[in-house]
C-alpha cells in the first residue's frame, strides 16, 4: 500500500521538484467538497501506481506560495510534475478511469 504524501511550501522543492519519478500533486482545501470526493480515488490510484508515480497533497489554504506560483485559481486541481516541470494538469473532479488515461500518458 502506497499512500499520498503531504507536501507544503517548505518541502515542495525536495519532495516534488527533485523527485526521481513523476509526482502528482493534488491542490486542495478543506472547504472544497469535490476535493474530498477526489481524495479516495487518488488513494486508490496511489496504490495502483506505486513506485511509478508519487501522489502528494498540498493544502492551498496553508501553502499560498506554491499555489500562487502555479496560478491555482480553481480546485480540485491536479498537476503532474516530471523532472521538476509540470507536464499535465487536470482541473475539476474526474472519474478514476479518466484520471488513469492522464497518468498513463505521462508514463509513456
Amino acid at each position: 500500500m502506497s499512500k499520498p504524501i503531504e507536501v507544503d511550501d517548505a518541502t515542495f522543492g525536495q519532495k516534488v521538484l527533485q523527485s526521481k519519478i513523476p509526482v502528482l500533486v493534488d491542490f486542495w482545501a478543506p472547504w472544497c467538497r469535490p476535493c474530498l470526493m477526489a481524495a479516495p480515488v487518488l488513494e486508490e490510484l496511489a496504490s495502483e501506481y506505486a513506485n511509478k508515480i508519487t501522489f502528494a497533497k498540498l493544502d492551498v489554504d496553508q501553502n499560498a506560495q506554491v499555489a500562487a506560483k502555479y496560478n491555482i485559481m480553481a480546485i480540485p486541481n491536479l498537476i503532474i510534475f516530471k523532472e521538476g516541470k509540470p507536464v499535465s494538469q487536470i482541473v475539476g473532479y474526474k472519474p478514476k478511469e479518466e484520471l488513469k488515461k492522464d497518468l498513463d500518458a505521462v508514463l509513456k
Binding site: 472544497c32 467538497r33 476535493c35 479516495p40 489554504d61 494538469q89 475539476g92 478511469e97
Partner: protein
Amino acid sequence: MTAKAKKEYDVIIIGGGPAGLSAGIYTSRARLNSLLIERGVMGGQIADAEMVENYAGFAEGISGAELGQLMQQQAVKYGLNIVTAEVNGLKLKKEKRVVNTTKGDFTAKAVIIASGSERSKLGTPGERELTGKGVSYCATCDAPFFKEKPIAVVGGGDIAITEALHLAKFASKVVVIHRRDQLRATRILEERARAEPKIEFLWDTVVEKIEGKEVVKQLNLRQVKTGKKSILNVAGVFIATGFKPNTDYLKGFLPLDKAGFIKTNESMETKIPGVFAAGDIRLNSARQAITAAGDGATAAVNAEKFISQ
C-alpha cells in the same frame, strides 16, 4: 467496503444524494436487502450548500453537508449498505437487473436510479481553455482565490444568486450576467442580492467570449435586445446557467430525452419494469432537495410493491 462485498441484493440505489438516501431509508425499513452505490462523497449536490433554508422541519436552516450526513445516518441505522464505486452501465439478465461498476457486477430485483445532475458548460469560446484559470463552476471551492478582485457570475437561477452572495464575501465586485430581464431565482434570494452593495446586474446580456492569455482578463458581452457589444474586465467568471443529468452510463439501456433526462410516471417507474428513477435526473424535476427526497420515497414504496408481486 471490502472485496468480499455481497453481490446480490433486493434493491440497488444509484446515487447518494437526498433522493437515493431517502429511498434507502424506505427500502431498509421495508427489510429489503439494499445497496447504495455512490462514486464520490455522500450527500449529493445539497452538500455543497452552506445553508439549506427550505427543507421543511429545519426552521433555523441546516448546512447542506450536515443534512446529508443525517440522511445517511438514518439510512444506515436501518441497514442500508453503501459502496463507493462508479457505475459503468446496467443490463437485464433474466429476472435480475445487473449493475456493472468499477468494483464489479452487483445484481438486484429492482434498481432506483438517483444519480442526479451536474453543472453544465456555457459553450462559449475561451471557456474550456481558461477553466481553472479564472473560469469556475464551484463558488464554494474557488471564491477564496478571488479576494478583492472583480468577478462575474453567469446565470439567473437559485444557484447563480446563491453563488453571487457567497462570492460577495470575498470579491471586490460581483456582476451577475443574465440573458433575460428578470431572475428565475427565488424571490428571497433576489431580495438579498439586491440589498448587497457589491452585487450588480447586467440584464439581457450574454457572454460571447471569455478572453485572457494566462488567466481570465475580460468578458466580451452582447446586449441581446440592442445588439450592443461591450467588454467587462474581471479576474474570474463563475458559470451557473444550468445542469445536465448524470445519465451517460444509461445510454442504450433506458430511453433518455434530448438533454439526457429520464421520463417516469407518477410512481417513478421508467420504461423498464423494476427500474425506477428519482430526483434531479427525472424530466421536469423541481430540482429541490425536498422533492428529490419525496421522489426517493415514492420510488422505494413502488420498488417494494414490484418485488413482492
